[in-house]
Point group: C2
Chain length 429, copies 2
């Protein structure tokens, strides 16, 4: 398929952060073939880009997509009441097919808010893979492994994790990548962590893990290992540049330097950290100083409860400014970089900018909207003013998946109907 | 005009916070006439409410609507660089007609995000009044007075403020109320503050003022008066139950008690406080303990940069949870109360809930949306998951002002065109 977007403004997010005015963007296959004024080339599908802004697709580096099923089910509660009291019992009732519909709902929500790629760990991941395949979005998926120091469980978890990677990595014309995901240092033995690392090298894929989300976790780590979580992970040789570490909220400057030295990618999840009252604030300026690649994650729909990266960029910038008493910290441009260029770099996806040769993962926003005017600053408007109502088109892997607010790949009504039924069953006491 | 909304779910926000399922809502004139199952009454206009949720209109208790003109113009800068360096010089170029179009843009943005009423202070307020009249929204408006201790200026300011109230209070079929707005204790003399209070009693209208937004302001107040801002305002006899105080970020428990005892209403502006790095966090739990009526404000579009109260409710709840390390603080229900019932109470508007006899100020949300499902909890979904794309209809003062995302009262394109031209002139160096 080829698509020609005519006469559009574009935030390239290239190395010079060029803003182009009134250009044509030609997409051939799954790539951006050509960008220029008044292109002569023909295409099978033409989009009138006048009054629209093309933006590189947003990349969500931490979520559990199928958890949309529990949206609004355990809010305003302490984590240690909400999860054991509500979320885990409900999750016990989850069947494989439920994950498919929950993930499908999440994929739609993400595509409607400019997200073109996400990193996910959960269970029944073959069903999330199916939702990714059907919806047309791009994703990197992992089965979330937990062994709680039990060797039998460890073996079983590694088997599921490895088989998932073997079966799905590179599927859906390459839109699906896979990774290994030991859940966290406090739920996984050192053996599991190192085996996950070994597998990630063997298969040439990423590792994702939750790190230092709460104070309790840090306290327990010091008690058990005499080391803080990042120090511990470093001491056993787990950290490398294939690791995407979510949260990293309660970490020291020394740990930040370790992350930087080992090339670990960080997924900053401001909304989740605030909503769950994790208390800490990820030390973003220190991370940038240590050359850590910082990206944004929404986390799952119980912890957020939205999967909109547009919102996450804003809240992420606001939180840093408020916390550090400095309005200059985490600028709109930096936030957009985290969500595009850095996300692509962290997930090893050849996207994150609108440039010839890159994957055609991008979305269009309506500039003629009450909340997007005046256009004093496109980047500011995206990060601080926009919302999903401004997203009109989404193109992923060169395919149009949303056109003027209409999802083209899946039957939304059917997804809604299934989710309604499933959620009722799961959350009925 | 009469409107009948058929078969809708409704969050009444009545004293029992009842959620109604599949009811009809009959609106006659500007009031909610009747709520019940399968009403037999006829109406001139019928709305199919199936799959929709009726919510009391949100009330924004602090903004400067026309400042949409400067959206994105002075971001990621320190306040004392952004305002004197960019905003004030640009404001000097503002002509009366500019305010009209900027305010119109803001009114559209608010109606599109569920807001039906706002409290505003700025200049050329007759133009904001015109935008309110034309757009169909409800508002309480004041000319923002500043005398900097200069008696000549004081006289002039009071004259403008008083004439505005005399001319516009009760206009547009009662949709426009007026108030007096001495800008802040640090920009207004005691004489101006007390004269504003006197006028507010004389005309039976509200007073609005900025209080304790920054540390500098508190420091200066102690230096000048030996008192913190709320203490100072109390000592001169300014505080009473007609005062709406915006921000109140840097206040002591003693000041919170003063606000409670005097019945002062507080406008909590979390996004603005975070974006401008005011540093403090409004002590909401202490305010509630002292029975202060807490409401939400977005502040102007330079400080936010969105006028969406949906976003402000979420960020307001998140900020409290994160700041106080307690996920239970400021629940979704409390946030919605602040934005509806409390806002109405603060602005003395007979709205804020969907009940027979109340003003018909409400909006409809599409429940069948990827980010609003499942419907485990309507209130959670509105506060934590929704965004303006979910708002389909807006009814204000009994009139349909937005229908399925289409603004009926004003020509949006014309507003956009004017705003584009004006903003270019104002922000050109």
């Amino acid at each position: 398929m080829s698509i020609l977007i005519k006469d559009v403004d574009a935030l390239t997010q290239n190395s010079r952060r060029d803003t182009l005015r009134g250009v044509d963007i030609l997409i051939e296959g799954n790539r951006i073939e050509k960008i220029g004024k008044k292109l002569k080339e023909k295409a099978e599908f033409k989009i009138d880009g006048k009054g629209k802004l093309a933006v590189p697709g947003l990349i969500n580096t931490h979520t559990h997509t199928a958890m949309t099923l529990f949206r609004g089910y355990a809010d305003d509660m302490r984590f240690w009441e909400a999860w054991p009291g509500k979320v885990w019992p409900a999750e016990k009732k989850v069947k494989a097919g439920d994950v498919r519909w929950g993930a499908m709902l999440g994929c739609i929500e993400m595509m409607r808010s400019g997200t073109t790629c996400f990193l996910d760990n959960y269970f029944f991941m073959e069903e999330t893979a199916r939702a990714v395949k059907d919806s047309g979005i791009r994703a990197n998926l992992a089965y979330g492994m937990i062994d709680l120091d039990d060797p039998t469980k460890r073996k079983k978890e590694l088997k599921i994790g490895e088989e998932f990677v073997k079966e799905f990595h590179g599927k859906a014309d390459g839109r699906i990548s896979c990774s290994f995901s030991p859940h966290a240092p406090y739920t996984c033995s050192g053996e599991l962590l190192l085996k996950a690392k070994e597998f990630s090298q063997k298969y040439g894929v990423l590792t994702q893990i939750h790190v230092s989300e709460t104070r309790k976790e840090v306290f327990d780590s010091i008690k058990e290992y005499g080391k803080r979580p990042v120090e511990y992970l470093d001491s056993i040789g787990f950290l490398n540049n294939r690791v995407v570490a979510a949260h990293c909220v309660w970490i020291t400057k020394r740990e930040v330097r370790m992350l930087g030295e080992k090339g670990v990618k960080v997924s900053y999840n401001p909304v989740s950290n605030m909503k769950l009252a994790s208390g800490g604030v990820a030390p973003i300026p220190q991370m940038l100083e240590s050359r850590v690649c910082v990206t944004f994650g929404t986390d799952g729909a119980v912890s957020n409860n939205s999967l909109s990266m547009l919102e996450t960029m804003k809240v992420g910038a606001l939180l840093q400014k408020a916390h550090l008493w400095d309005a200059r910290v985490l600028s709109a441009q930096q936030a957009l970089d985290f969500a595009t260029r850095n996300g692509a770099s962290a997930l090893c996806v050849n996207a994150g900018s609108i440039e010839e040769g890159k994957l055609a993962d991008l979305f269009l926003m309506n500039l003629d909207s009450s909340n997007m005017l005046p256009a004093n600053n496109y980047v500011s408007n995206i990060v601080y003013s926009s919302n999903p109502s401004n997203v009109s088109h989404s193109i992923i892997d060169g395919k149009l998946v949303m056109e003027e607010g209409r999802i083209l790949t899946i039957d939304e009504e059917k997804v809604f109907e299934n989710v309604r039924k499933i959620a009722e069953r799961l959350t009925r006491n």
